[in-house]
Amino acid sequence: MLSSRRIATMGGDIFRDEYSLAFDGTNDYLATGADGTAADATYVFWAKSSVTGANKGVFGHGGDRVGAFHFNHSSGRPILYLTDSDRYQYWVDTPAQDDGQWHHWAVVVDIDDMENGCKLYVDGILIAQYSRDESGTTTAYGNLEIGRSTTANEFQGNISDFAVYNTLLTQAQIQTIYNGREPFNHKESSFASNLTNWWRMGDGALDEYQATTTSGIIQDVVNEGFGNDVITNGGFDADSDWAKGDFTIGSGVATVTTDGANQYLKQINLWSDNANDGKVVKLEYEITANTDTIVLKINGYSGTDISSGSKTLASTVGVHQAYLFVNGTGNADSITFYINHTTGETISIDNVKLSVSNGAAGSMTNMALADIETDTP
């Protein structure tokens, strides 16, 4: 097995697949804001696993039976669930689920006709259907999560180059993507107009992990990058634009001396109407002073990742960066630096910037830098 793959593309560049994400099966996953509406689609990806028992949650949409695909779900058979117990499709057992080798998977999801439309291809070969029940109604999707379907169903293995198409791809198209096991540039195919999302799992030019803030981003390369900085007066050049709480703004920084209670520094109206739910935001900031071990937290939307001051940030003196997944119903159009520390210590903050990902970037949740592995098909 090669540790990396590369292939020449039309422009003469070398198109590489050198990394994958390793999921440990305990609680890590890639959170995205993509594909949140149940509709016909095709999910294509490379996967490798050695788990011979049930290995659930290759991907899902907010529930283990909501647009969810599982390896070895029962009697060694893979399954696609669209709703609880009466809308699912099994396929016959395939050793590709657990032979410890890389395989290319394509899950074709026909929302309205599972018997004739839902298909599974492994390495470009059609897998025979097994039993199904399509008497029920498809459950409404949440956002796509890769590597888990619920907190009790997490995938164990590696995944690379996960792409979503908004159509039922044909076997010929899937074999084109399989490309004889060579890397495939989804943007250069004749059906690229149906490509909606593509996470390269470490090969994206802007894929990055910040160890000091235990946060990582896997860009959706269909629409990668970030928008402009949305913070006004992030350099604290004036005493304005911030709801300061106990902080003071002066000498070009925001400073607070702790009093043992909750203290905050907030900039409001960064977003409106939850328009950025499901987005990854990049937060940049500088700690210019920290006289003790004050832990800075971030607070914002009432959703995963940054609610209730629960996300701790790197708080040592220096420049830091964090990627935060905004996912919640939202009750505050704000982002808040938040501390709670014993009395008499001081922390100062400067150069705050915040930018929102353009596309449906993925947030490496409960994952480490070591989980971006040089292990590819």
Binding site: T26, A152, G303
Partner: protein
């Protein structure tokens, strides 16, 4: 795989900011908790941070065995 990673199981009420800062977990909100929400797992790579010293640690295979039980 994950031979350098260790896990602990801890009462949710005993989790501190320092633990979250030293663990791989992204935030308090993304912890994996037991079905009764009383316990959670934390994990790290490499040397054991001081805040976890003295606690029972589990290897990858050990924690997977535990998580397959009825409590999780």
């Amino acid at each position: 795989m994950f031979s350098n990673r260790k896990w602990i199981i801890i009462d949710v009420s005993n989790i501190t900011d320092e633990m979250i800062s030293n663990a791989i977990q992204t935030s308090m909100d993304t912890l994996k908790k037991s079905l009764d929400d009383s316990k959670a797992i934390l994990k790290w790579d490499g040397d054991t941070p001081s805040c976890f010293e003295g606690m029972t640690t589990y290897s990858h295979s050990e924690i997977l065995e535990i998580l397959s039980g009825d409590d999780w």
